[in-house]
Structures are given as structure tokens and as C-alpha cells.
């Protein structure tokens, strides 16, 4: 605001409405998760989010643009949650524990974000060049590099490390989200279960 704000009123005043932006984004994510990319249109989204199509087009050029902006937002949120209280300098066990806890929090606090990420991470409609994952990737790579240098971790292909270190975790979380195990009884991931699994994973990864 400056002194002119009181005198000069533009012909058309559009105020960035954070709540409206949020409503559009959350509705779009829900629609994409439930109906897929083919099941959604800008008109359907405008109606569901309670805004005019014109308002929607202020924020997004078209469906592809919307999908890409949403992907960027979801990834930024994921990176923020995943990197909280985490440092690449941590020991293998401590770092993985923080990663598991943070990622579990992302899955439970942002269920639609997680589903969206799973659905579209390999989608050809996402322009991956536009999504900046550098900071997150760098942090994860440094963590592994440090663990190898400390001789805590065996040298192995990144894919092998990921499958053991995170694949196990995501399998466990899948049972948690479905709320049933293979035996069809109610299953919840507790800290104790997570710790027990982590111990085995760390043992397998250690030199």
C-alpha cells in the first residue's frame, strides 16, 4: 500500500484471494484423484470449487497448466514435510527414522496430495523440467553419500538403496492406509511397528 492507493482506484480491481486459491487447488486435487485427468474439465472444476470459469482461468491457462502447477505445489509441500528436522549429516538410522516419520505424516496429513503424487509422478502430461526437485534430491543424495563415507552403509545402486530403505516403508504405509493387512484384520502402523521394521532395514543396509 502507498498513499496513491487511496486516490487511484483501477478500472478493475482484482484482489488475490488466498482462500479462493486454496479452494480451487484442493477441489482440483480431489477431482483429479477421484476422476483422473480425463474425468475433469475446467468448467466442472469451476462449478465444484464455486468460482466462475473466468476466475479459474486467471490462475490456470488450461488443464495441463493446472496439472503442472498442482504437481509443483504438491512436490514443494512433500519436500517441506520430508526435510523438517532432517539433516544429511544424521546417522543412517536417525536420518531414516526422521524420513519415515515425516513421510508418514505427509501420507496421513495430506492424503489427496499423496494419492495425486502417486498417480501423476510418471505422467507424460507433467513437464518435469519445470518442477524443481534439486534441493530435496540433493539433501537425500548427500545423506546417502555421508553414510557410505562413514562406512555405515554398503555401496549399492540407488534403486537398491531406495527399494530397501523406502520401499519397505511404503509397503507398510499401504497397509496402514487400507486399514487392513493381508490377513484382513485391522492394521495400523504405530511408532513401535515402524521402529521394529526400521531396525531390520538398517541391519540389512549396514556394512
Amino acid at each position: 500500500m502507498n498513499e496513491h492507493s487511496f486516490i487511484f482506484v483501477p478500472e478493475k480491481l482484482r484482489i488475490r484471494d488466498e482462500n479462493k486459491e486454496l479452494a480451487i487447488r484442493e477441489t482440483a486435487l480431489k477431482m483429479l484423484v477421484e476422476q483422473g485427468f480425463d474425468g475433469m474439465s475446467m468448467q466442472k472444476l469451476a462449478t465444484a470449487a464455486g468460482v466462475s470459469p473466468a476466475t479459474l482461468y486467471i490462475y490456470y491457462k488450461n488443464r495441463e497448466d493446472m496439472l503442472n502447477q498442482l504437481f509443483t505445489h504438491v512436490h514443494e509441500t512433500f519436500a517441506e514435510v520430508a526435510l523438517k528436522n532432517f539433516s544429511p549429516e544424521m546417522s543412517l538410522e536417525q536420518g531414516l527414522w526422521i524420513q519415515w516419520k515425516n513421510r508418514a505424516r505427509f501420507i496421513t496429513e495430506y492424503p489427496n496430495y499423496f494419492k495425486f503424487f502417486e498417480l501423476f509422478r510418471n505422467s507424460p502430461q507433467i513437464d518435469h523440467c519445470k518442477v524443481n526437485m534439486a534441493a530435496f534430491k540433493q539433501s537425500m543424495q548427500l545423506f546417502v553419500k555421508n553414510a557410505i563415507e562413514r562406512k555405515e552403509l554398503k555401496k549399492m545402486e540407488t534403486e537398491v538403496f531406495w527399494s530397501v530403505a523406502y520401499g519397505t516403508f511404503y509397503s507398510l504405509m499401504k497397509f496402514h492406509v487400507q486399514e487392513k493387512s493381508m490377513m484382513n484384520k485391522k492394521f495400523k502402523v504405530t511408532d513401535a511397528i515402524m521402529k521394529q521394521t526400521l531396525k531390520m532395514v538398517v541391519k540389512a543396509l549396514k556394512q
Binding site: S52, Y57, N62
Partner: protein
């Protein structure tokens, strides 16, 4: 979300519904120094034209599109 001033974005309903038609307005809009960015969503029922520019007049854009032989009205938010 890009940080373009929202009041610099103008939204129109048109009947530009394919790439060949889009090509017909492409040169006109690309060569206009007042237009910073533009796009048409041919997939949408309203074939929405989105134009960005701080010094643009809605009436001028409508005139350009009309002269190219297309329908164009501003969509109110």
C-alpha cells in the same frame, strides 16, 4: 503460482476451437508489443482466450480477435 498482477490478466470467451484457427490469431497477438503472454484453451466449451498485459485495453483485444473473423466477449469473474 506465477506472480503476475491479477488485474493484468484478461479472460475472453471465443470460438477459436482448433490449432488452425489459433494460428490465424497467433501472429497478430505475438506481434503486439502490449501483449506479454497469451493462450487459448481450445479444449474448453468457451474456447477461453487468456491475455496478459499491463497496458492492454479489453476493447482493443476484442477488436483484434473480431477483425481476424472470430467471436470474442470478455468473461466476467
Amino acid at each position: 503460482m506465477n506472480q503476475i498482477e491479477l488485474s493484468h490478466i484478461h479472460i475472453f470467451k471465443t470460438n477459436i476451437n482448433n490449432d488452425v484457427e489459433k494460428q490465424k490469431i497467433s501472429t497478430l497477438l505475438n506481434n503486439n508489443p502490449l501483449i506479454e503472454d497469451w493462450s487459448v484453451d481450445c479444449e474448453d466449451v468457451d474456447c477461453v482466450l487468456r491475455v496478459v498485459g499491463s497496458k492492454l485495453l479489453v476493447s482493443d483485444i476484442i477488436k483484434i480477435i473480431n477483425q481476424a473473423g472470430f467471436f470474442c466477449v470478455e468473461l466476467e469473474g
